[in-house]
Structure formats: structure tokens, C-alpha cells
Subunit: 353 residues, 2 copies
């Protein structure tokens, strides 16, 4: 017997590399290549450091109210957390307490199985089709809950609202979570379905489309009932998760709709150009509606390309896992960064296998 | 059957009030009355908002290294989180997985039973003695883990290192957590015991002595083994908990030892004066080595005094709970704030019951 017998044993999630050197091209963690809304500078300029001595608002009202206004819902339909990982983790802990298995795709955000393990939630992965699509019929079996991203990660594939509604209709007794981390890059959000389904939880983040990965802001929107349950669990773990500066910066960012549209618009444009260029280079990929492209080359090993890009200080993401070990997930950067990527890929492909 | 059957049902912790009006005297959540180290201003001045687009360092190295240097331990003996509540919650989840009950005092930080409930950890409270002391013999029974604050909250009572060591010696098979949120106000930290006990976890915070409640920084120091276990669980929940600005501000604060000594010294001085004054007013209280005083008046109802102070816009903390419902927990503010408190108390006592 030892204290070590009572330790929760887990295999943690491995985040994408965050190299500390600065002269790299970083296309590996789906960060936004553009800075956040310029109004954020004024928030920092005006911030009185004496305010740091006081606890932040545990209800995060300034941010919650700004989100409610932006997304046309009531403040008590919104839950905020330290990035969408905090929000989804809290949602797993709150809603997935059945003895039945929760369901999510086999190829998806690789944190879902980690959360299931840490919270000892039984789960079953549901294979995507050959072309990485969700078959809604696969989700019409008894389950303890459902989650998938839309667009999916790391594929970038967007499913329709009709498909999501079909799954909701078949699952009135489960909480269905749609992880919309990448929805702002051309997808259609399922927020309108909230009017009909009180068991739908929609999760979004400031880390991608709002250029704030470094500030850690995520949120969920759902029925008042769902959000009340999540807040009860959250207030049983940490009353004050969002620091004061973060609340102010997050709320400020939401005010600048024009900047948001412009920067996401630029990324969408660069993505569409990148699709053309990657096709010209012989890559194949499912059509992406996100800020990344999940690309494979029929004649070259993805792991080898990954390493050769890294030697050239270009970081993309690669998983040595079943079904996806011949793919690279390439974040859409600035046009200049993408040009350097394409030049490097041309060199690498010219070298041969 | 409904999705509601699978919800984790909990009774959340109730944090102290964070009133949104500004003309109040706030002595209710043990915040520091002085601003953080002045170097923090330069961190904000120099911060490039473009950095917000990138994820922060998931290993929080700049802060971890600064803490390692400050406390003369190795970086891999340090775990950082979003306030000490995040750290303790993570420690409960990591280490308290026995079927035996965990132990903590009956009068203590009122979050411990909430964490035990949310994570479904069996627990047993151990009564403090009549004068709010810990009897180490009470902790020599089979258990799944032990936690208490030193100084204790809300009493302010400090226990000796000898007492802590006696408990550690009796419990080699449990993780023993000492919550030192208030240790910098005149207590002796048990950090030196780490050399002998690999099952000791010491938790501290930037929220009190370092004037950073608003930034959310807590940390634990323990053996490399303990910290590795905590990080595995943390990285199974949220890779990036500490935002970039917070890491920089926290590390900066640790550099200014002179400011830290001066501001904690002022609070200790004000506390000692407050003890005299409260005694003169007829209050009784256990001796406090923290930044608050837990005071009771033999002739006046604590709940009534609490409400009358609130009418005068002076907020202290009151719990209507067994054993402590005749006590007020009064945070030590500035000398000016304390003077206003004493004047108000004089008025209230003069009014009679």
C-alpha cells in the first residue's frame, strides 16, 4: 500500500508544439495569423494594476453580456471558461454521467477520449465514412451523450444543420454537444437549433477566429437548464476562472464586428487559394471550411514531409495514428507564410521519396 | 428517462460577495489592500497584443522557473493553476481516489467538502478542539488523504511544523496537503518538510500576499513524483490554463522581494493593531497569523453585526453554520479602512442588541 495506489492514472493529451524560437513559420496549432481587434490595446493601456488585488467577477458578467448581445441569446444561456477545452471538459463532467457509452467520431479532436478517460466516462468511437463524413444513422443507438466538432477536426469537413438536427431528433435523452471551434471560417452555426432542442450545447472559442488563443476564452451556449447545470459544477470547482483583464479584452473584441469579418474573410480567401495550390502540387484533401487543410499526397509519406518541413522551420501538425497517418494538418497562415510553405513543399517533392 | 438523469448534481461553493459598487469597504474576501508589485505596470506597457493570437506556453515555464528560484526547489516540483482553487481541485482529482474517507477539519475552508462532493470522494470532517486547534491524534486513523489550511481558514490559527510532521509520520500512505494560502502573514511554511516526505503537497497562492486575486495564480510544491501525477491529470483536462499576460505578471511579481516584504509587513502591523482595538471593543478571537481576524462578541449577535456593517457599506464575511455562526471573519485592510470599521463597530455596539 502507498499513496501511489490512489493516484488517478491517465495518459494526457499532447498539445501541438509551442516552439520558443521566433524565426519559424507556425502552422501547427490553428492559431490566427492576424492580431486581435485593435481595441484590445486600449484595454491594456487603461488597465489599473491596482485592480489586480481584487477578485474578478465570478459571474464574468461583462463578457457574458457581450456574448449574449453578439449571439442574440439570454445571458443565462451562456457559460464561459478558460478556453473551449475548459468548457468542454466541464460539460463532460456535468452531462456525461450515464453508464451508457458516449459517442464521438473515430477521427476527431483527440482530446475527447482523454476527457472520457480522466472522468472515467465510458465511450465508443464511431467510424467516419471513407471520405471523413458523419453518417447520422450511426448516432441512433443507445448512448450516454454525443459530441463532435463541426467543422470536424482535424479534417475540416463541415456537416449540415439538417444532419445535426437529425441526430438531435433521435437523441432527446442525451446531451448533444457541437464543438464549433472553427465555425467562423465559412460554416453555418447550429445556434438556431437551440430554439427547438434544450439538450443541445454549442461550444465556441476566442482562440481561432478572434485571435485570442493566448488569452484563454471559450464559451458554450445552450438552454438555460443546461447552462445552470454547468455553472453548478463550475462553481463546485473554481469560483473565479476568468481573470479581470481577460474578461475586459474578450468583451472588447466582440465589439469590433468589422475587424472580425475582415480577418476571418482574409483567412477564408487564403484557404481557398491554398486549396488550389495544394491541388497543383498533387495533394488531396477533404474540402475544408475551417482555418486548416488536412492534406495527403498519394506519392509521398506524410511523416517524411512533416519532418522535412520542420527542418526548414515550418511547423505543421502530424499524427502517427490509424487512418490519418498519411495526412498533414496545415493551418492557414498569412499569404506570405503560405507562399513559403508552398516553396518548401515544392523543394521537398522535387527531392523525391 | 431524460438527459437530466445523467447530470452531475452538486451544491456549489458560494464565494464571498463581489459587489459591483465602488464606495464600499471590502473586508470580506481576504484580498490584499495594496496593489501588486509596481513592475507589473511595465509588463502591461510592454505587452504586444499581437502575442495574444498565439497559445501561451502550456508548461508555464517563465512562471514555474521564477517560483523554483524563489522557493529553492526544482522546476519539476512546481505545479501552477488558475488560483489555488484550481490547484487544490486538481490535487483532489489526482490523489484522492481511495475508497477510504479523506479527512479535514470541521471548521475550515468551505470548499473542501464541495470538491469532495463534485468528484464523489468520500470524506469525514474532524472536529477542531474547543479553541479551534488541530489534534494530530485525530489524523492517525485509516484515511484516503488529508488536507487542511495552515493557518486555518476562517479561524486564522497557525499550527506548528512539528504538528504537521507528526501527521505526516503517521500517514506515509496518504497524500497530505497543506493549504498555505495565508502563510506569508507571519506563519512558518512547511516547505522544508518536502525534503523528508514525498507525499506532502504544499499549496500557495498569489491572491493574498502578492495582491493578485484578480489574475488567478495558485501553485503547489511537492516531490517530483507528486507534481508529475498532477500534471498528467492537468494535461488531461486543459493544456493551456495560464494565459500569457498572467504568466508574465506572476513572474515579474516574484522578482520584487522588497515590495513583498514591505506590503505583507504593513498588513501584519495593521493586524496586530486591529487585535488590540477589537479586544478593547470586547471582541474575542483566536490568535490570527493570517490577513484576517475571526472575531466574536460575547454580548452581540454576529449575524446582526454583519448586517449592520453591511448597511454602512462595510463588507465582512459571515457564515450561518454550526460552531461559527457567532463569528465574523474580518479581512485586514488599510489602517484607514480599519479605522472606519472600528468607528462603525463602536456605533453598532453602542446601539445595543
Amino acid at each position: 500500500m502507498s499513496w501511489e495506489n490512489n493516484v488517478r492514472r491517465v495518459v494526457p493529451y499532447t498539445p501541438g508544439e509551442q516552439p520558443k524560437v521566433s524565426d519559424i513559420i507556425k502552422l501547427n496549432t490553428n492559431e490566427n495569423p492576424y492580431p486581435p481587434a485593435p481595441g484590445v490595446q486600449k484595454i491594456l493601456d487603461d488597465f489599473d494594476i491596482a485592480r489586480m488585488r481584487l477578485y474578478p467577477d465570478p459571474n464574468a458578467e461583462i463578457l457574458v453580456n457581450a456574448l449574449a448581445e453578439t449571439y442574440h441569446v439570454k445571458p443565462n444561456q451562456i457559460f464561459v471558461g478558460v478556453g473551449s477545452d475548459d468548457v468542454i471538459s466541464m460539460a463532460f463532467l456535468t452531462f456525461f454521467n450515464s453508464e451508457k457509452k458516449i459517442l464521438f467520431p473515430d477521427v476527431t479532436y483527440s482530446f475527447y477520449d482523454v476527457w472520457a478517460d480522466v472522468y472515467q466516462i465510458p465511450y465508443q468511437t464511431v467510424p467516419l465514412t471513407e471520405d471523413f463524413r458523419i453518417n447520422p444513422d450511426d448516432y441512433k443507438i443507445p448512448n450516454g451523450g454525443i459530441i463532435f466538432p463541426n467543422p470536424n477536426a482535424p479534417t475540416g469537413v463541415l456537416e449540415s444543420l439538417d444532419l445535426i438536427e437529425e441526430i438531435l431528433q433521435a437523441n432527446p435523452d442525451s446531451v448533444v454537444m457541437i464543438d464549433e471551434a472553427y465555425i467562423d471560417f465559412g460554416g453555418e452555426s447550429c445556434l438556431p437549433l437551440l430554439e427547438k432542442y434544450e439538450n443541445l450545447l454549442v461550444i465556441q472559442t476566442f482562440s481561432k477566429s478572434r485571435s485570442m488563443a493566448g488569452m484563454r476564452i471559450g464559451f458554450a451556449i445552450g438552454s438555460e437548464k443546461l447552462i445552470k447545470c454547468m455553472n453548478d459544477v463550475k462553481f463546485s470547482i473554481n469560483s473565479y476562472t476568468m481573470n479581470h483583464i481577460t474578461l475586459l479584452c474578450g468583451a472588447e473584441t466582440l465589439k469590433d464586428e468589422a475587424y472580425f469579418k475582415s480577418s476571418t474573410g482574409k483567412i477564408i480567401e487564403t484557404r481557398e487559394q491554398a486549396k488550389k495550390k495544394l491541388s497543383e502540387l498533387g495533394f488531396v484533401f477533404p474540402d475544408s471550411k475551417s482555418n486548416f487543410i488536412f492534406a495527403s499526397h498519394p506519392d509521398y509519406d506524410a511523416g517524411a514531409i512533416f519532418n522535412k518541413l520542420k527542418e526548414r522551420k515550418i511547423f505543421v501538425r502530424y499524427w502517427n495514428k490509424p487512418r490519418i497517418n498519411q495526412y498533414l494538418r496545415i493551418t492557414v497562415g498569412t499569404p506570405e507564410e503560405m507562399q513559403k510553405l508552398f516553396s518548401a513543399l515544392e523543394e521537398i517533392l522535387a527531392e523525391g521519396q
